[in-house]
């Protein structure tokens, strides 16, 4: 086993014994095997699976440990996930029912939608649900993310789903599209960036929408989500200028970009909100 994992023997022994003490590993005769209670948590990928986001949590903790320096003023750039697999699997661990709820809200608000642009859509969980509801979807993300998810999440050959490489923080990205969309969906995007970047991003999004098109933003809204303040600490540790933003800030950016009919909806568990706004018809 030390050879297979490239592991240190002493470390492996101590860790296996600790996992045995916690009940996640069993000993049968003279062998270690995974305990039955650990399989759904760490192996199976079902509804109890936590193996998707715990490795990413570990990566995040590395950043949190630098908070003393950050509080003292040390500046950091946006940390690129050191392991795209851990990051994408964490993104993909959003419960299916949450995604179904969000897509349902989007389509209730924009009943005639036929096309959607999923900005920074990563593992494609939202895009796939939009496609299953009859829309044509374009998922845009960084080149390395698209390369990874197209194979690992089997997105490459899904009918009515197009994968596109690009950087939506750059002005030029708007020019790379020949079509306009009925919905631009932005899930967990705005917390990564500063007010200025978000305002400019929404300006670009407005140029990608058809008349009467809708932007839908899913995120933690300060003052409405009970987790917004703590999540902002995560962004303090991991981004140059990200954070969580108030409803007033979202409304200001959206109006500046030409949107109207702005609504903020608390999602079922109230962890997050869905903000929708429309371009003029």
């Amino acid at each position: 086993m030390t050879r297979e994992l490239g592991a240190d023997e002493r470390a492996l022994y101590i860790v296996l014994e600790a996992l045995y003490a916690m009940g996640y590993v069993e000993k049968k005769k003279d062998e270690y095997i995974i305990a039955d209670r650990a399989r759904p948590l760490f192996i199976n990928g079902g509804k109890d699976y936590v193996g998707g986001y715990i490795p990413h949590t570990l990566n995040k903790l590395n950043a949190w440990l630098e908070l003393p320096q950050i509080i003292k003023g040390e500046k950091i750039g946006r940390r690129k996930p050191d392991n795209i697999s851990a990051f994408m699997n964490a993104m993909a661990s959003t419960p299916e029912e949450d995604i179904q709820e969000i897509v349902s809200h989007c389509l209730d608000k924009k009943k005639d939608a036929k096309t959607v642009l999923d900005l920074g859509g990563g593992p494609g969980k939202y895009s796939k649900v939009f496609v299953n509801r009859g829309l044509k979807a374009v998922l845009l993300d960084t080149p390395e993310t698209i390369d990874y998810v197209s194979s690992e999440f089997e997105l490459a050959d899904i009918r009515h789903l197009t994968l596109k490489k690009g950087d939506f923080t750059e002005d030029e990205f708007v020019n790379e599209f020949e079509e306009l969309f009925d919905i631009v969906f932005m899930g967990n995007i705005t917390h990564i960036y500063s007010e200025d970047v978000n305002r400019n991003l929404l300006m670009r999004v407005s140029r990608l929408l058809n008349k009467g098109g809708m932007v839908a933003i899913e995120d933690f809204v300060r003052g409405r989500s009970p987790y917004a303040e703590m999540f902002a600490v995560n962004m303090l540790a991991n981004t140059e200028a990200g954070g969580t933003w108030t409803e007033e800030q979202y409304r200001k950016w959206l109006k500046y970009a030409g949107f109207s009919n702005i609504e903020v909806l608390d999602l079922a568990d109230k962890d997050k909100q869905l903000i929708t706004a429309f371009m003029e018809k």
């Binding site: 492996l12 860790v15 996992l19 270690y32 095997i33 192996i43 715990i54």
Partner: protein, 48 residues
């Protein structure tokens, strides 16, 4: 405040466990332990 009051010793123990489990996952330990044959105890040279 929206969070439950922190019980420090439990929280620290929880953090240790998450780091241990995360490390086991990241290094493929759990997957390796699903092999049918299992893995024999390691001779640590301590007589244990």
């Amino acid at each position: 405040m929206n969070y439950e009051e922190l019980v420090f010793d439990r929280a620290i123990e929880g953090a240790n466990k998450i780091i241990l489990l995360g490390s086991a996952l990241k290094t493929g330990l759990f997957s390796a332990l699903t092999e049918k044959k299992g893995y024999s105890f390691i001779d640590t040279g301590t007589g244990s």
